[in-house]
């Protein structure tokens, strides 16, 4: 192990990053990845019965199921490493908003189908190279989830790309809506690539991947799709950020209230 580095994050991970510090940092990192997948699955799951065509209901549900399937072992692994007896459900249903570490992009509501697709495009173009790099993570569970996830997310990205092309290069209305959705969501993209001491220290240990390293690939992929679809790369300079530190947009509280209500109404119950 290399020299201990101080790790900064929302949670008090103040120990030197030897065994305990690295473990605590890994827990945080697993929560970031797991919460991204969980929250996006929650958004997509809510779209079932609302898609523009029945075939698309089935497609969106498949993507939601893949993401939920990624979230569960990530959260379970986080709980296991944390050692406080929290399982995937305790982490999903009993944490407070400030303890969720997903990026703000995935929590953004589904304004219309263009919004759903734009969010999918921005996220899957980031998630695919990230998971590809994580297949060799020193954390076996994480490497396993990444290995399986790469195939899933390759499909998610393809789905988003195909729809971006059709909406961008479809009708005047679809092009306008797709551009508006991109403009609306663009400020949330920068957060995906934010690097901090926590992720850098884990990257050094081969556990994590520095998200900044996948940015060039993301830029190239997204630019290529937008160009082919006749859409403009938004010029927004606003950068929305904070999710990795537990700061979320206003819509997120409602998402959690809905998701957690039943589980919290029956403390100690099993389902």
């Amino acid at each position: 192990m290399s020299a201990p580095a101080r790790v900064e994050s929302s949670a008090p991970v103040d120990q030197p990053a030897t065994g305990a510090g690295t473990t605590a940092a890994t827990v945080q990192y697993l929560l970031r990845l797991g919460d991204d997948a969980l929250v996006l699955a929650q958004r997509l799951g809510a779209q079932l019965t609302r898609a523009p065509q029945l075939e698309e209901d089935v497609a969106l549900a498949n993507i939601a199921l893949d993401l939920l399937g990624q979230a569960r072992p990530l959260l379970a692994r986080a709980g296991e490493l944390e050692g406080r007896g929290r399982d995937e459900d305790a982490l999903a249903f009993l944490r407070e908003e400030r303890d969720f570490l997903n990026c703000q992009l995935v929590e953004q509501p589904d304004v219309d189908f263009a919004g759903t697709i734009a969010r999918q495009l921005l996220f899957s173009c980031y998630q695919l190279p990230l998971l590809q790099a994580l297949t060799t993570s020193a954390d076996e569970v994480l490497a396993g989830v990444a290995g399986k996830g790469v195939k899933e997310v390759a499909y998610h990205r393809d789905h988003a790309v195909q729809w971006t092309l059709r909406l961008g290069d479809g009708t005047e209305e679809s092009s306008r809506r797709m551009q508006a959705a991109l403009d609306r969501l663009w400020p949330f993209a920068a957060e995906l690539f934010e690097s901090d001491d926590l992720v850098r220290s884990l990257a050094v240990r081969g556990v994590a991947v520095d998200p900044a390293s996948v940015r060039p690939r993301w830029d190239a992929d997204v630019d290529a799709v937008l160009a082919e679809a006749g859409l403009a790369r938004p010029s927004s300079v606003r950068v929305a950020t904070g999710g990795r530190r537990g700061l979320h947009t206003e819509c997120f509280g409602y998402l959690l209230a809905e998701m957690q209500h039943l589980a919290r109404s029956h403390p100690g119950a099993t389902w």
């Binding site: 065509q53 075939e55 089935v58 789905h159 195909q162």
Partner: protein
């Protein structure tokens, strides 16, 4: 009770009187749905593609993707074909006698037609 109700279909009783039954497709002025595609799945290597059903999609690219989502959710396939339904030419059902009956009396095409002496093997 007025309209008749019957347990038709999977989820039970539905009205059976005064229910519209649609207009035959050829008389319709224009198509309002995405085109219809027939879907064929190869269940595993070594098997031929088999027809499994149809779906609607705007183009071939999306038809393949929809077929993947709709018809292979449970690992039913290793390969998919989608074919525009309108691109399939079918023999006319009314012609099935002239088409297929002539094959009926040609039993000599089948190995069981031939007598082989007892004990002869590998034949």
């Amino acid at each position: 009770m007025s309209a008749e109700v019957r347990a038709e279909g999977g989820h039970g009783a539905v009205p059976v009187e005064g229910v519209a039954t649609g207009t035959p497709t050829p008389t319709r002025a224009s198509r309002r749905d995405w085109p219809l595609w027939e879907v064929f799945v190869r269940g595993r290597r070594g098997l031929a593609h088999t027809h499994v059903g149809s779906l609607h999609a705007p183009d071939a690219t999306m038809a393949l993707r929809n077929a993947r989502d709709v018809y292979t959710r449970r690992q039913e396939g290793v390969s998919l074909w989608v074919v525009p339904a309108a691109a399939i030419t079918a023999s006319s059902p009314d012609e099935r006698d002239p088409f297929f009956a002539p094959a009926a009396d040609k039993a000599y095409r089948h190995p069981t037609f031939y007598e082989v002496p007892e004990g002869v093997q590998h034949l």
